[in-house]
Symmetry: C2
Subunit: 357 residues, 2 copies
């Protein structure tokens, strides 16, 4: 959860300026219009909603991939197979945001025709925040699911090896007259950057979220070698959910299993990483009268938001926190972290574009 | 994990005898052939695989529902809507196993034609183990998902009210030449019967799995009033997963939200409970060459099963534990718990059928 304190207001940068800068830099780095547009949209989804780990801090990372060859700056996306309400999209090593927005658009088209649609994505790359694609479906009136796998960081239940990636599951559901219900979770106990953050802060990790290289729990971020699957003592649940992501994103696409994927931070930035991903869209009105659906969704959320909480706490629906951050940031702008500020200035200098910070 | 110790071998009852008894009793209680068949098949899936909470201990519960009117003993199942690759099945207050097997059979038919198929189930009832329906898809060569919601037992993250049911997610995936990958989880930290078990044993609960009526964690099973969502400190993940089940099973079907569902144990056994459920089937060969799929699934599982474990532990794929129990129980039979033995004898006496125990 970001904290944009009043005292830091002078450091806030408008979202629109950051958005424009990302597009200009990506374009200057060789990305075609569709790539610059999709990659920026994905990152801005993260930064707007407070998911900073998957926001514009990734710009320099993506530029490196575009320049050195990991990412195709002008890919030719094409359906590899198409069968009724499903398809396999060959993304030609596109930026993952372009691949996944394209896949979700096709999935919603299929769902419009068949009630449900699903697209397996091949030859994709890091797609940033999974919720960005689920919400794209919800904003068009569909229930959207997005899954991917990624390079290994997470042990199995009782395991002592980095086996699965943090393999996220995102789902968004349209709510009439309101922002969508928006759920986006890693199937690991915490994201890996939490370990990195606690390392830099010299703080103890929460219990049961990371393990040493023998697979034993550790609260020392310095010896944390892998993440635990979601669930603690019941980590077989997190590991099984990661398995669903793995099977849909890698097995059903013929792409790389997490333990075969080259590390995101390199050193190799010239070889495409062979990532898969998977999206599903459902058309509510194909299952039930749309007024019934809308009324039930509203009643579910109203009841949830007004339900009793533990003293001193309040209850939120998935996405409520993100929408609140979005309102704030759209109005006030974002305080970028020092490393991102530095990378923006360096990119601006390299490509002759004025950095907004 | 059941323990059928050698010393109890004289109490083991063959699965076939239990299966036959369930069918005879259900039929004697008024169930039509399809209901007796499906309800028995669902319960035997639970008992065969060691999921005893959802096994034949439910027989007396289902008989009460059939006799008193909660369940329709001779339902007329019909598609309420059908649109491309999806449908809504009105189960006419059937036993949940009949409703869900019927829905999954239709979903696999749709997936065979469209690559994916999905069925929302209306006017259903308690369906027992969710994995039974996912595996039905996998045994026919499809990836299967099954979801349902149920009467409220689980608080929200930071919540202090029984809000969601234990809302399970099940997924099964075919593996060439092997048993399917089989994943079946409650989205609560533990099942409610774990609390009941620990209460009867006078044991402390694990930390973070149950709360008192104000929503605070308790390890005392006597004061445990509700379950925690999966994830402990990150319980918003378990609550969000429960939300997916709720939206698919209740909102997308127009059926009851968990907090509106009458309690499973009564006292009212005469009114249908208005439960929904949801199934999805995917045809692997519609997304990727089937040999590629089979090879990747095998490599994934081989690597998983041979991956390093914490000292003294071993790593298992979802379902491995269940398949192992199944082999044992198919050969040796099952040791039924005392309450189930007693209920079998009472049912046998009521309906003039010899109890196998």
């Amino acid at each position: 959860m970001p904290t944009d304190s009043p005292s830091s207001s002078s450091l806030l940068t408008p979202l629109a300026a950051i958005d424009a800068f990302c597009r200009q830099i990506l374009t200057a780095a060789g990305a075609d219009h569709a790539t610059a547009e999709a990659a920026t949209r994905g990152m801005i989804h993260g930064s707007r909603h407070g998911i900073d780990s998957h926001g514009v801090r990734l710009l320099a990372h993506y530029v490196k991939g575009l320049v050195e060859g990991r990412l195709n700056p002008s890919p030719k996306l094409a359906l590899a197979t198409a069968f009724g309400a499903v398809a396999s999209l060959d993304a030609d090593n596109a930026h993952g945001a372009l691949a996944t927005y394209t896949a979700m658009t096709h999935a919603t088209r299929l769902a419009g025709e068949f009630g449900i649609g699903s697209v397996a994505i091949r030859n994709s790359s890091h797609f940033g925040p999974a919720g960005a694609y689920a919400i794209d479906a919800a904003e068009h009136g569909f229930i959207g699911f997005a899954f991917c796998n990624s390079d290994s960081f997470v042990r199995l239940h009782d395991g002592a090896m980095r086996f699965h990636g943090t393999n996220p599951i995102a789902c968004a559901v349209p709510v009439r007259g309101q922002n969508p219900w928006l759920f986006d979770m890693a199937t690991s106990a915490v994201p890996y950057n939490r370990v990195q953050l606690y390392r830099s802060l010299g703080r103890e990790l929460p219990a049961g979220v990371a393990s040493d290289e023998r697979g034993y729990d550790t609260r020392n971020p310095e010896v944390a070698d892998m993440l635990a699957p979601l669930g603690g003592e019941f980590g077989f649940k997190g590991a099984g959910l990661a398995g669903i992501c793995e099977i849909l994103s890698a097995v059903l696409t013929g792409m790389k299993l997490s333990f075969d994927i080259a590390p995101m931070p390199g050193p190799d930035f010239s070889t495409p990483r062979g990532l898969g991903a998977f999206v599903i869209a459902l058309k509510p009105g194909a299952f039930v009268d749309i007024d019934t659906f809308d009324a039930a969704m509203t009643r579910y959320l109203d009841t949830l938001r007004s339900s009793p909480a533990r003293e001193g706490f309040n209850v939120m629906a998935p996405g409520d926190r993100e929408w609140k951050v979005a309102v704030h940031r759209e109005k006030e702008g974002i305080e970028l972290d020092p490393a991102t500020v530095e990378s923006f200035r360096a990119l601006g200098s390299t490509y002759g574009v004025n950095s907004p910070v």
